[in-house]
């Protein structure tokens, strides 16, 4: 019984090193001037391949005007263990919500 998880792990490792494809995160800008949105991820060996694969996977239906790709490894993410100290302190500070302010009708993109 002890063998099984080890074997599974080893298999996974060989497969990964054989493919040598890194994971890249894809961000699409739906229209010029608006913020980029995370669309998903793709596999690629280099920047150009990442850009092309992102184009082929995520802009087939005219979803975008610009694409960003970045290696997933290069993204620094907060850890869910830190959620309490990171995010809970904001939960009693309703005055930080912008709903207290009137938005002018002339402001676009919000």
């Amino acid at each position: 019984m002890l063998h099984w998880p080890m074997k599974k792990n080893m298999k996974k490792k060989t497969k990964m090193s054989k493919n040598k494809l890194s994971v890249w995160e894809v961000f699409i800008q739906p229209k010029i001037g608006v913020p980029f949105q995370h669309a998903g991820n793709i596999h690629a060996t280099d920047k150009e391949m990442a850009l092309q694969n992102a184009r082929d996977l995520y802009t087939r239906r005219q979803e975008g005007t610009c694409i960003w790709v970045v290696k997933s490894d290069d993204i620094v993410s907060s850890n869910s263990d830190d959620n309490e100290s990171f995010f809970d302190p904001a939960d009693d500070k309703v005055y930080r919500y912008p709903t207290f302010f009137k938005i002018s009708k002339k402001v676009k993109g919000i």
Binding site: N19, H43, A44, D46, E48, Q52, N53, D56, R60
Partner: protein
């Protein structure tokens, strides 16, 4: 007679696209990894779209009510006029990329010229196709560089693919009587004039990819006259199966 000339001219580009598209679509769900699978299918669809435009136009020139589908599914091997390179088997991934690279460079140069055709339909199809072809070329040329300048194994495979397919590259630039007539009427392109630029683009990529340009004494030809390699018949038997087994079936 003139209409017949134009028909044959348009048909040859339709056949090139149809057969190339069919070949690429055979990679669907079999490509080395998911992203490339979708990329190849995307490209195949672009090329099928082009085939549809050319064949639609060709069918309309027949003036007998025939359709693009009739041309695609109800002609025999000897009636297809595509260049031999289009029908060459997919082989391994390098074989497919080399075939596509050679075709993409050629198509880019062809459509750039065909845009100024006196025939407005041909001009419009070229205008649409050139954007797609520029992307296809970006995709295939990057793969040639990646494979050629990659590992020992990938270099070996892409060089072998280039050596094997080189013999089909001269045919792209051949001018038959019909093409010459079309050129004279300012409808068509003189493909021979495209050769130096094709050589230049291909050489530049070969240089970056550390690939040696092959020297072939024998060059294959015959596609435009309907004389094909043994591979086209098999491709057609697969592509035309449904219309042959159930004539005029629709869905």
């Amino acid at each position: 007679m003139e209409r017949q000339n134009l028909f044959r001219y348009v048909l040859s580009f339709g056949d090139d696209a149809l057969i190339n598209g069919q070949r690429l679509s055979q990679w669907a769900y079999k490509a080395p990894f998911l992203e490339e699978d979708i990329a190849l299918s995307n490209i195949a669809l672009d090329i099928f779209g082009r085939a549809n435009l050319f064949l639609d136009y060709a069918a309309s020139l027949k003036e007998n009510g025939s359709t693009a589908d009739d041309l695609a599914f109800k002609r025999n091997e000897r009636e297809f006029t595509n260049n031999l390179l289009c029908e060459q088997p997919n082989g391994n991934f390098a074989d497919t990329m080399v075939r596509q690279f050679f075709l993409d460079v050629f198509n880019k140069l062809l459509f750039e010229e065909l845009i100024v055709s006196k025939d407005s339909q041909l001009s419009a199809i070229s205008q649409k196709s050139i954007k797609e072809t520029n992307y296809h070329l970006r995709h295939s040329s990057n793969w040639i560089i990646r494979l050629g300048d990659g590992t020992q194994e990938s270099h070996k495979k892409v060089q072998l693919a280039i050596n094997n397919l080189w013999m089909f590259t001269d045919e792209l630039f051949e001018m038959n009587n019909n093409a010459t007539e079309m050129k004279k009427q300012k409808i068509g392109v003189d493909c021979q004039t495209l050769k130096p630029e094709w050589d230049k683009i291909v050489n530049d990529i070969f240089l970056i990819a550390t690939i040696h340009k092959p020297i072939n004494e024998h060059m294959a030809t015959g596609g435009r006259q309907g004389i094909h390699t043994e591979h086209l018949g098999h491709l057609l038997s697969d592509m035309q199966y449904l219309q042959r087994a159930y004539p005029d079936a629709i869905w």
